[in-house]
Symmetry: C2
């Protein structure tokens, strides 16, 4: 308590006020003064100030509105969200500029909430969520309090004692109680909702000077360490900082994690929050941004939007704080460039200043990287291979970690291929039109469960037409994928391999994916070896969710021209119209056009194989799904290897009426052998293209050597894998 | 002939050659010297030179290839196309720089063609086109000769007499003969293929010095004026310069029109080609670019690509020549800005110089405009209404002119609404994957006939499920739409109206479209009054081809969730999957999301109305069609008025998770009265929005006044139309 008193005496936020001052949880008096003096000097800071001022100019020009609660996504809901944004901006602008109109705005709005809030009971339209009072769910209300805490903090000293007492009695105390007493389970939950809850309560507690309440936010409502912020930092991240729900949700959770961490560091530096668990917050931030596609968009694995990117406000906040607290890193300047503005505190100022004085134009350029998953790092992981730089980087992502809670998808060994600035082999993302009120209130749609979460909605093999774990989340939470190979050292041949053995009874699954660059081809090529083993025969469906226009195939398709039916009855198949079918017992070649490039899958021949084409949208009475194509390679087998190449090729520009190389260079993929020991593949194509790919399917030492003899041909390699480019062009770039 | 001799003595192209010189058909010696001296001074000229040099650097670094002919869109086809591009660039670069490597490139390639061409017979893969020898159709070969004529012209004096004799004997003479003797009908045809033919023959004739051959190009193969360039200028354009095939094909034809015109002007200025028919070439160019959407893309009416824009090489050429020959116009500087480079001759130099010295940043900003159609201007027209400026301009286009030849669509009274930088109510464009060899050789697909040309593929009413003129092109060519109203004077209420009375036996059709700006709404709104009259009852289908995601409706749709069938059996209906149906006898409201904006149609109530939803792609065995949604309002009636409003509203940003105003402001459209004399409509919505729209359906004088009394309400107006904004906001912007 002594330290707190000292802070109250020494620190301050509002530069125009001379009385003994309150310590800031986000912006100090020195920060504020330095930002004021820096106006017009640093582009990213100026942009941030311009946005804040513009938002407030609009807000101040209109009548203030604190309406009665409304439905999710509706006008009142959006109004209350806009209110907390405006209060936060007003608080920060008051701190920085000292202009009292901003402080008065916060006061007037808090007065209105102090009248409204005591009149409210639980929101009647919570549906399956925990109700708030202003909003339909507590989650939104916790977000409201996180932002409003900063606003209140900024004007604290400017307010009269009576005003503060009124707001705390009528709003903040009862709201904090609602979160940590009435919703105790949520408060103690190891989940992003729990993070918002503890951040909201902890931050308002710091501002109100209630350190005992802060303790609950840090250590759980019972102070036993089974809940609370620190426990969340222990369990929600892997040792590599990977967040169990995936990139979209860590993006969301970055805000409470970093706002609350910054408040702790400023008000209780003795906690050492930024060093906690070997700097897990640093790792968490890097693990978030390093998953992003070359265009800055987060891969939409698990429940996730297709378009959320590193320009999001939460990432802007975390970027500045990471830069400030963990040391200058030029790649974070690249993120700042993408973001176009900085957070409005001392960290943002520092980032903006360094950005303008950086010699070269900074850019985001992330490495190929594997993140271990699970809180102890033993539950599989996420692998990302990257070739090339900038906008035309090729990126291959494979998911083999934990299920990821209620937002997890049943998609182990799923992959995404990103090329030409877009998801070429894509993840559907969530089934949700976020905040679109007429679409189920903007909430998760029934089709999120019935389609988006199901295995067939992903690019991973479906066994017997059923979803992994039979769509049982509890079952899925008890297992994880297993890492096998991750090697991105060779810029011409990057490899990752993982297993998922317990997701279907009696079926072992291993997927090995390579990104290869052959100098005779224009673009890196994906090699995909999906191996299944079982004592019994099963139906194996290998789906590829692509985009664009079907161009050609060596197969003869029977197209369903005048009658369409769903591809199945359950596990997501009921949502796919079955558009065409072909039989195949030789190499499968299928080419489509996506944007300015052609793409082909060339898949190794197996007897009695079927290729099915489909399009999403069946059993969708309210048109909640997007319409998009899918290709499924189907075979009945016990042990099986889907061995395929995905080749980007050629060029198409409709406006310029140019088309080049509409057919792939690669013509054949041949499985030489596959067993529990190894898989050996030969890939051949035009102009003598010839690759040999050898993969060890068992865990072996880097020095261990293999010899496999097939007929008169002997295959030899050392370590987990080997790729030979036998053609003339080969690896000479 | 005397004049020609003088030109040979006085004019010249290749600055390094000192002998008596050949007169240039595109670039003079003075042009070339001035361009050389201007290097590094004008951005658009530098870009043009950089492209030429880069193209030639690549070409010179690789072995020259003049392969045997191949199939349309295949490698050899593309190679021959690239060859003429390279020859033209090499010729121009030789003229400008005097570097002999460029002249040698043209010579070496002509040597190869002089060996190849005499060995060739008619191309065996012409399918339904007229065969060329190098290419599958003469059209491509004529394009080859247009470009090659310029290259040959540029190096003419540099070549030896023997070389020239060889190329003329082995290539140019027999090729010109192939075009004007063997393919005489095509040569004399009043059509863009004819234009390419006469331009190719005329241009090479100028270079070879054969003025009698030029006469055939100008006046037809029989010199009787029934064919040839001048006759084409008489008949292919309306007095306003509108081209009967539409914007996509005039874009293509701009190249032979302007290359040949420029050659005529330089070699036979006495023809006065640029003044011919009251400067029809000037009008033609402006009519082309003034149809373009705010993003520079040409509207895809008739057979047309969805993406062709004013940056196309043909438009770059015509822009410079129009600027040079018809006087400086700042809007053409705006086109040049979009194009990013200029043509490489004196006209391009002038444009580039003026662009850099222009005070303000130039932009393309076209007016609302109506073009009369038909060579004498009496065959209906094309109306374009525009509100706003720059990228967020709203544009409404209605088509009520002639059929437009073999590339015409059966789509009279069709409209396109462009908003938010995209076609919101869209035209399908052509059924063709242009130059994509595996897609039917890149040619027009069967689905172009069976779907893209049909009435139901457009946004115009289909009567009794049949295409206009029963899909008979000859029948369609005998009629046209008729202009009624075009008034874009009032920036808050623009109106166009037209009739199409003979397209269905016994059915009269009038469409009146308005673009209205009410200060209480964020965006201009479309009002659409489609009136049908008949003595007998018919089925009237009102289709809207939109894009994006269905959001909400006041109707209850029965969705076909587990079985899809086509919407019909013929006239294009067989290509539309029937996805849902609703019955309506009150106001119809239907909202969808497209990009960052919501759109709603609100349509006046009529008893026993059906609303059908569909999606293209049925009866499409080779997946040649794109998949997209359509809404059809269907009613059985004799006289009927579809009275609808299309309102853009709100905002959606998935990445920022913002959604605002997902429901329209306009709630009701009411038909007060419709008759052969007038239509009176009331539109009402939130916050007191109330409009009255009065349209005279007969041709009347501007001073004539109307009074219509309905019950106790009296409607009075003067002239063809009147719009009253009765709400508070109204027209005060």
């Amino acid at each position: 308590m002594l330290r707190y008193v000292l802070f109250v005496l020494l620190a301050c936020t509002a530069p125009t006020v001379v009385q003994a001052q309150h310590a800031g949880i986000f912006i100090s008096r020195e920060d504020a003064r330095a930002i004021k003096e820096a106006q017009g000097q640093y582009s990213l800071l100026d942009q941030a100030m311009a946005l804040a001022r513009k938002t407030m100019d609009v807000a101040l020009s209109r009548p203030m509105e604190v309406p009665n609660p409304g439905e999710a996504g509706g006008y009142e809901h959006e109004r209350h969200k806009q209110n907390y944004r405006e209060m936060r901006f007003a608080g920060l602008l008051f701190s920085i500029t000292g202009e009292e109109k901003y402080a008065a705005f916060v006061r007037d709005m808090l007065e209105a909430y102090a009248v409204l809030y005591p009149t409210l009971g639980p929101h009647p339209l919570a549906h399956h969520q925990k109700p708030g009072k202003i909003f339909h769910q507590t989650l939104n209300e916790e977000v409201w309090l996180v932002h409003t805490s900063i606003a209140y903090d900024c004007v604290y000293d400017w307010l009269s004692e009576e005003e503060r007492a009124r707001y705390e009695a009528n709003i903040f105390r009862p709201m904090a109680d609602w979160f940590h007493i009435r919703n105790q389970a949520e408060f103690d939950r190891i989940h992003n909702h729990g993070t918002w809850a503890v951040a909201a309560v902890g931050m308002i507690a710091y501002v109100m000077g209630d350190l005992s309440l802060v303790q609950k936010a840090l250590h759980g409502s019972n102070l036993d360490g089974n809940g609370g912020f620190l426990r969340q930092l222990d369990l929600l991240f892997s040792p590599d900082g990977y967040y169990m729900e995936g990139p979209y949700y860590i993006r969301y959770a970055l805000m409470p994690f970093f706002y609350f961490a910054e408040a702790i560091e400023r008000r209780q530096p003795e906690v050492g929050i930024y060093n906690y668990r070997n700097q897990v917050l640093r790792k968490a931030y890097y693990a978030a941004v390093q998953t992003s596609f070359p265009n800055g968009v987060f891969p939409p694995i698990n429940d996730a939007s297709l378009t959320m990117d590193v320009g999001a406000p939460e990432v802007i906040l975390a970027n500045a704080l990471t830069y400030d607290r963990y040391g200058a890193d030029a790649s974070l300047l690249g993120v700042a460039k993408f973001q176009g503005r900085v957070a409005l505190n001392g960290a943002g100022l520092k980032l903006a200043r360094d950005y303008d004085s950086h010699e070269r134009e900074p850019d985001m350029n992330w490495p190929s990287v594997e993140f271990r998953d699970g809180h102890d790092g033993t539950s599989g992981g996420l692998g990302i291979l990257r070739m090339g730089r900038g906008g035309d980087q090729s990126m291959l992502l494979m998911k083999y970690g934990v299920h990821g809670g209620g937002h997890g998808h049943f998609d182990k060994l799923h992959f995404i291929f990103f090329d030409q600035g877009r998801q070429v082999i894509r993840d559907y993302g969530f089934g949700r039109w976020i905040n679109v009120e007429p679409k189920f209130g903007g909430r998760y749609l029934p089709e999120n469960d019935s389609y988006a979460m199901q295995t067939i909605a992903h690019n991973t093999v479906v066994v017997d037409g059923m979803t992994q774990n039979l769509w049982d989340e509890d079952d899925a939470e008890e297992m994880s994928g297993q890492r096998h190979i991750f090697d991105a050292e060779d810029p011409h041949a990057m490899v990752m391999s993982a297993r998922a053995d317990t997701y279907y009874d009696g079926v072992g699954m291993q997927r090995t994916m390579l990104l290869l660059r052959d100098a005779s081809l224009s673009y890196p090529v994906v090699v995909d070896l999906f191996r299944l083993t079982s004592d019994e025969a099963h139906q194996y469906d290998y789906p590829l969710h692509y985009s664009g226009q079907n161009i050609t195939s060596n197969l003869t398709f029977e197209t369903n021209t005048d009658l369409l039916q769903p591809l199945g009855e359950e596990y997501g198949y009921q949502h796919i119209w079955h558009t065409a079918r072909a039989a195949a017992d030789s190499t499968i070649r299928f080419t489509w056009l996506d944007g300015n490039r052609y793409y082909s899958i060339i898949s190794a021949p197996w007897p009695e194989t079927e290729v099915l084409l489909g399009r999403t949208g069946a059993n969708d009475p309210n048109f909640n799904l997007r319409s998009g194509p899918v290709l499924v390679i189907r075979r009945q087998a016990a042990d099986h290897l889907f061995a395929s190449v995905i080749e980007p090729h050629g060029y198409f520009n409709e406006a310029r009426e140019r088309s080049e190389q509409a057919r792939p260079s690669i013509t054949e993929v041949r499985v030489v052998r596959h067993s529990n020991a190894a898989s050996i593949i030969e890939v051949t194509g035009w102009q003598g293209l010839h690759w040999r790919i050898m993969i060890s399917n068992r865990r072996i030492g880097a020095e261990e050597s293999h010899t496999v003899t097939v007929g008169s041909q002997s295959y030899q390699w050392t370590g987990s894998h080997h790729v030979e480019f036998l053609s003339g062009a080969g690896r000479e770039d």
